[in-house]
């Protein structure tokens, strides 16, 4: 929880108010306390343990050691006085690389060595792995430790004059970088060779007591045929627990093997790569395929047979009277509230702190256009409610009409919005050059809202297509209800945007 409210420590000298910097200093130092407890706990696990210094253990212990160095230097940076001097220097670079490479990457490599025999069913060469650890550990320290002494050298520069005295320290760090980088070839070679021709690892090479070591290596496609029961003394019983999956056998396993999530992830990768990284941004040669692949992926995922069995062994607890899917929609909407809360917070910050004359005069954001759009969305919300009623009454014509109306109204909203955007961008208002801060907050907030309207139109199209095929009329109208929840939320967001941008 505390780590959520430390973000301001990146902004100590950006001109935020002194109160804010003080608050974030407190939270940043406060977050080190639970981390201390975690670190001490990790070290405590070694006491009275039968420690075998195999490669995974070496990497894990090494990661904790490096984490301590990175953590302690972080406490220096939490102090405003020190941070004012140290920000933007190599001291900061050294600090966060001890955390990210030292603790993060070393820990990940340790995990890879630990579970590789489970993944591949074969064991790697332990000596080579130990050599890899020694070179990595030495390499990381030779690479990053000297940077602590470069606390007068700015980050992100590659050239400097000899009289700065930074040369030898940088050379040392470079040597460390090559040692660390090249030593990773040992990892690749070791695991590559082991995967081909390493000795058989057996199900439990580490004599581990957790569940994954109780199944063969590599694990079968479906790990456990029955839900294992673990007793208090650690013994595992695979016997008479309730069967996993649907009662009629292996049908539900198909759900585990869907290829669509990775297709959807690929589409997001293409989309954002085109939007930001590959020139000229936006690069439509990547953005458009990203969108198309995304739609194909979502369509494929939506059409997949997906069998979910409500778990009999747990009672639903707090949410036991709420259908799972509807709960999911509401959790999504709650996250959307937070998202728009952030956007509105940014708007309020800019608005309240705007200098005199920096905000456009009243009615620059046309009140009549804003009001028109408000009435459009309110009406569309009513028709979305009517769609649900029609579905409940199994009236196909009614459902079709009640879905088609919000589609038309949503489209009208977007047309009105587009006209308004265009008017604002041209002379004499030209909001971009005359009121850049207002333009940014207005276009981003209403733009994101507009994207939500577009998403709603896509949903309606899907529902209309299904309605034509005769769906939703046999009591299975949950999808119409879920669409309504989303559409009303989009309406509620506009209910707030209208007074905030147009009326005050």
């Amino acid at each position: 929880m505390i780590s959520f409210v430390v973000l301001g420590h990146h902004n100590f000298i950006t001109g935020v108010s002194p109160l804010t910097t003080q608050l974030f200093t407190v939270t940043t130092i406060a977050v080190s306390l639970p981390f201390d407890v975690i670190t001490v706990s990790m070290i405590e696990t070694l006491f009275h343990a039968k420690i075998r210094l195999k490669a995974p253990a070496l990497f894990a212990i090494g990661a904790v050691a490096l984490f301590v160095i990175g953590g302690i230097t972080g406490v220096f940076l939490a102090s405003i006085a020190l941070d004012t001097q140290l920000r933007g220097t190599y001291f900061v670079v050294a600090h966060f690389h001890y955390i990210m490479v030292g603790a993060g990457i070393m820990g990940l490599i340790g995990g890879l060595y630990y579970w590789f025999p489970k993944i591949a069913g074969r064991m790697y060469n332990e000596r080579l792995a130990k050599l890899h650890f020694i070179l990595s550990f030495v390499g990381i320290n030779v690479l990053y430790f000297p940077m602590f002494f470069l606390l007068d050298m700015p980050r992100r520069i590659a050239t400097y004059t000899p009289n700065t005295g930074w040369g030898p320290t940088n050379s040392l760090a470079t040597i460390g970088g090559f040692i660390f980088g090249l030593s990773q070839l040992l990892l690749l070679a070791n695991l590559g060779l082991a995967a081909r021709s390493g000795p058989q690892a057996g199900p439990n090479p580490w004599e581990g007591s957790t569940l994954e070591w109780s199944v063969p290596s590599p694990p079968p496609l479906h790990n456990f045929e029955r839900l294992p029961r673990v007793s208090e003394d650690g013994t595992v019983d695979f016997g008479e627990a309730s069967p996993v999956g649907t009662p009629n056998g292996h049908e539900s396993h198909a759900g585990h093997l869907s290829r669509w999530p990775i297709v959807i992830a690929l589409s997001a990768f293409l989309f954002f790569l085109g939007l930001t990284a590959v020139p000229p941004p936006p690069n439509f040669l990547l953005v458009i395929p990203g969108v198309v692949v995304g739609f194909v992926g979502l369509y494929g995922y939506g059409n997949e047979r997906f069998v979910v069995r409500e778990d009999e062994e747990t009672d639903g607890g707090f949410f036991d009277r709420v259908p799972r899917l509807r709960l999911g929609v509401w959790v999504f909407l709650a996250s959307e509230i937070i998202f728009f809360g952030v956007l509105l917070g940014a708007y309020m910050f800019v608005r309240v702190n705007a200098l005199v004359g920096a905000w456009p005069p009243f009615d620059t954001f046309s009140v009549s256009r804003g009001a028109t759009n408000t009435f459009i969305l309110l009406t569309s919300s009513l028709t979305a409610v009517m769609a649900l009623t029609a579905a409940k009454k199994a009236s196909r014509t009614g459902l079709f009409a009640a879905l088609f109306t919000p589609f038309g109204l949503g489209a009208a909203f977007l047309v009105n919005k587009a006209l308004e955007w265009q008017e604002l961008a041209v002379a004499p208002i030209n909001i971009f050059s005359n009121y850049p801060l207002a333009a940014t907050s207005y276009y981003i907030t209403t733009g994101v809202h507009g994207v939500h309207v577009v998403a709603g139109l896509v949903m309606i199209t899907y529902l209309l297509a299904k309605t034509v095929k005769g769906n939703y009329l046999n009591g299975n109208y949950e999808a119409v209800h879920h669409f309504g929840l989303y559409w009303h939320f989009v309406d509620v967001v506009w209910i707030f945007l209208f007074p905030l941008f147009y009326l005050i």
């Binding site: 949410f319 009277r321 809360g341 408000t374 009517m386 209208f498 005050i504």
Partner: protein
């Protein structure tokens, strides 16, 4: 009956919006205008959530999900308001 309620709620929402348009043109202190308008937007949102999204008929546990989101959003809004005058140098 339910359809009638929804139409009445719709009428109320339209009425409040019309009220907002009137308030904006009244000669009252700006602070009062801003507070009233944001308050009215809150009332409208409440009616949409309770009737159109049928939250009033749902189990209370579902509303807590929504409240959790509102609380987090409020914290974020409050952080932005801390930048305001008394402390801002």
């Amino acid at each position: 009956m339910k359809a009638l309620t929804n139409v009445l709620v719709f009428g109320l929402l339209v009425g409040i919006t019309a009220g907002e348009l009137v308030i904006v043109n009244l000669q009252i202190p700006r602070d009062v205008t801003v507070t009233t308008l944001i308050g009215l937007a809150g009332v409208k949102a409440l009616f949409v959530a309770a009737f159109f999204q049928q939250l009033k008929d749902e189990p209370r546990s579902l509303s807590t999900v929504l409240v959790a989101g509102l609380v987090i959003a409020s914290v974020l809004l409050t952080i932005s308001f801390l930048q305001l005058h008394p402390f801002h140098i």
